[in-house]
């Protein structure tokens, strides 16, 4: 995939990857072996017919290619940009065994960016008059809403924030996923007749019981996992220690990079340490660079091999000058008498035997050192959003407040379904969409069952 030059792009928020040219895309598509038993498809959480959409690109039928994608994936322009393809489709590509796998993600993005034609690309059934409520407008919620709207349901999405998109909007930076792309996908969902109520904190503005009373036959909960986790080390509440969620929300949702044109500020620092090794850590590091930081460290207690982030993000971060401090475990954030960060005290680590997750467990090497930084960003994971979950009496939960559901997204309460991060714990956009698709099918069956029992009963 072509990218903009690191020394230029690290100073602005414009998209880093430029995407394939037509000739590149057609050439890459022609390389596909069109396997009879395609491994890529089994590597995809929503089992997109990958050979078919690639064949359409090869034949220069881009709207056709997008149509194939849309049958499986509501948000191809987004997934083409943010899926961890190297662990999914591309990672399973047979060509990767001996050489270079097909760039499936880049091709998906190409089809999505070039296949849009005027008019309704998908058929929509006549309205059946049944109302379903979707709580949360992230990838899971948007998918459920679109799938059910196509089946003729009247869908209302309730979103707590002032902008739709969930993590796509507040979490993923502009340089990785432009707002314009998200808006296109949201507009597409709205074009199916889906109503969107913003600033609607279900559980507070309206309870789930009240939604049922208003005639919603079923409710899908896709409120995500955005609550920041923290390590509990000394100094975490010093000024200039941010949770990644806050740092990214300020910039992505509130446009703090454009302060004071936009009213929300964000602190710009010279030397920044980001704690964590996932996508959120990479996003935070590269956002800090773009806000003008001279030195940005990623502090991670294991090594590059164990990093959960997408490979491309690690590469892009390194190209832009982010310094990787592997085998480094923070133990204390140091501050001055004004409560401001002055450094990050760390332990050096060594890797030992693999733990339950199969990753080699880090242990202290006995070495201790201080990174001199004036800002620390904690990106060590998120847990469930608690407001709605706590407001529903009797809702079955597991772990740290995640909703317990069966494989169709059905919770222990009739008519209440859930999917995405709030059911699985923090995962990927595509897996949330997969959960949304399964839940939409189950909700359709459930609501039809209600009608039948009303007739026969």
């Amino acid at each position: 995939m072509r990218t903009r030059k690191p020394e230029i792009r690290k100073h602005d928020f414009k998209e880093v990857s430029i995407g394939m040219t037509e000739s590149q895309a057609v050439k890459e598509a022609s390389r596909c072996l069109q396997c009879k038993k395609p491994h890529c498809v089994s590597g995809c959480p929503v089992e997109i017919n990958i050979p078919a959409f690639i064949a359409a690109i090869r034949d220069k039928d881009y709207p056709g290619s997008l149509n194939i994608l849309r049958q499986y994936n509501l948000l191809p322009a987004i997934c083409g940009r943010v899926c961890p393809q190297e662990k999914q489709c591309q990672g399973s590509c047979i060509l990767g065994k001996k050489g270079v796998p097909i760039s499936i993600g880049a091709l998906e993005r190409f089809a999505a960016d070039n296949g849009n034609v005027d008019g309704e690309p998908m058929t929509k059934k006549r309205s059946n008059g049944q109302k379903v409520a979707v709580v949360g407008s992230g990838p899971a919620g948007l998918t459920v809403a679109a799938d059910l709207a196509r089946l003729g349901y009247k869908i209302t999405i309730f979103e707590a924030l002032h902008e739709a998109g969930g993590v796509l909007t507040y979490g993923i930076p502009e340089f990785r996923l432009p707002k314009k792309i998200i808006q296109q996908e949201i507009d597409y969902v709205k074009s199916l007749g889906v109503e969107m109520r913003l600033n609607w904190v279900v559980g507070r503005t309206q309870t789930v019981e009240e939604l049922f009373e208003e005639g919603y036959k079923a409710i899908f909960i896709g409120v995500g996992a955005g609550t920041p986790k923290y390590m509990g080390i000394p100094g975490e509440n010093l000024n200039n220690v941010y949770f990644a969620s806050e740092f990214l929300t300020r910039v992505n949702l509130m446009r703090a990079d454009q302060f004071p044109k936009y009213d929300t500020p964000v602190k710009r620092a010279k030397k920044v340490a980001i704690i964590g090794g996932g996508n959120v850590a990479m996003d935070s590091a590269r956002t800090a660079l773009r806000l003008g930081a001279e030195k940005v460290y990623i502090v991670y207690r294991r090594t590059a091999d164990e990093m959960p982030s997408r490979l491309e993000e690690i590469d892009h971060a390194k190209e832009e000058g982010v310094i990787m401090k592997f085998l480094t475990s923070p133990k204390e954030i140091l501050g001055d008498d004004k409560g401001k960060v002055t450094g990050l005290k760390c332990d050096g680590m060594v890797l030992c035997e693999p733990d339950k997750s199969g990753r080699r467990r880090p242990e202290c090497s006995g070495e201790e050192f201080v990174l001199k930084v004036d800002q620390v960003i904690m990106a060590i994971g998120q847990s469930s959003n608690p407001i709605l979950v706590k407001s529903v009496k009797g809702l079955g939960l597991w772990g740290e407040g995640y909703i317990e559901v069966d494989e169709d997204g059905q919770s222990n309460l009739p008519g209440i379904f859930a999917g995405g991060d709030i059911a699985t714990g923090a995962a990927t956009v595509i897996s949330a969409m997969g959960a949304g698709k399964r839940a939409a099918r189950a909700i359709d069956v459930y609501v039809k069952g209600l009608k039948k029992s009303a007739v026969t009963g």
């Binding site: 707590a160 924030l161 002032h162 507040y170 913003l198 600033n199 609607w200 904190v201 507070r204 503005t205 309206q206 955005g226 609550t227 920041p228 923290y230 509990g232 975490e236 509440n237 010093l238 000024n239 200039n240 949770f243 969620s245 806050e246 929300t249 300020r250 949702l253 509130m254 446009r255 302060f259 004071p260 044109k261 936009y262 009213d263 929300t264 500020p265 602190k267 004004k338 409560g339 959003n385 608690p386 407001i387």
Partner: protein
């Protein structure tokens, strides 16, 4: 869009606003707040719900014009709209029959105390309200409190109304004179801290409502984290009210001042842009 129905200046730099928000009005309880954003470029700020009317579908907001956003809010008129309001957020104040309640308010803290007063009164508590300010005209909403409180006492720094001195002077005498079963204090950080220190040796249950910097207000960003009894809590979903004797006020004060430079810059830019017209 949330229409503004009424706006009134009730003290210097303090405005009262009646806003149409039927769903929020229906669910609002004493202690709750909203997060609002005036327009597309605005920031999200928390404001206490000072009153609500479920039948009329309205909420009352009371705010002091300190920074850019509150000044801009104060420039809006009836007929204008506020782009975004989310709520009601935060835990409701625990309302029971306590006996003798002392509600202590400094400055704009009256906004938070007002619905608490109404709710406690409905439970037939005996309520003393102590309001403090620098000078007489800064005492906010006195007449409204006088209507419901069993006793209303005021203090001013300059003695222009009520007793000359601090709210804690009045509260100390009150505690010495007879039993006080609960103290609820809302106002500037140092005032709440002083109240906490005053009641601590008497072991009187004391609640304060904290107002740290917030961004989204639903527990997702952690901007509003405060230290309570040595543990980190998010004021938006675990507060904003906490046991005053457990609050780390020093840390709160540090965090409250973190964006002071930016707040000043935003205010200066705003003043330049509206060339003096923003000052009422």
């Amino acid at each position: 869009m949330y229409p503004i129905l009424k706006k009134q200046t009730i003290a210097p730099e303090v405005d009262l606003m009646l806003v149409e928000a039927p769903y929020i009005a229906k669910h609002a309880k004493a202690g709750n707040f909203v997060v609002l954003r005036i327009n597309e470029t605005g920031e999200r700020i928390p404001l206490t719900i000072a009153d609500s009317d479920a039948m009329a579908g309205t909420i009352t907001l009371l705010f002091q014009k300190i920074g850019k956003t509150t000044h801009e809010l104060g420039m809006l008129k009836p007929g204008d709209t506020i782009r975004d309001i989310a709520g009601p957020l935060g835990h409701a104040t625990p309302i029971e029959k306590y006996g003798h309640c002392a509600l202590v308010g400094g400055g704009i803290g009256s906004a938070t105390l007002h619905p608490i007063l109404l709710a406690l009164k409905a439970k037939r508590n005996d309520i003393s309200v102590i309001l403090g300010a620098r000078t007489r005209e800064l005492l906010v909403w006195q007449e409204e409190f006088a209507k419901y409180a069993d006793e209303l006492l005021t203090t001013t720094d300059d003695g222009s109304s009520g007793r000359k001195g601090l709210v804690t002077d009045v509260l100390r005498d009150m505690i010495k004179a007879g039993p006080v079963d609960i103290v609820i204090a809302v106002g500037p950080i140092r005032m709440m801290q002083a109240v906490a220190e005053l009641t601590r040796p008497f072991k009187i249950k004391t609640i304060v409502s904290l107002n740290p910097v917030m961004v989204e207000g639903t527990g997702m960003c952690g901007a509003c984290r405060v230290r309570i009894g040595g543990e980190t809590k998010f004021a938006c979903i675990e507060g904003p009210e906490f046991d005053a004797h457990e609050v780390d006020f020093e840390e709160l004060a540090h965090r409250q001042n973190f964006y002071r430079e930016e707040e000043q810059l935003a205010m200066d830019t705003f003043k330049k842009k509206c060339k003096g017209t923003c000052k009422k």
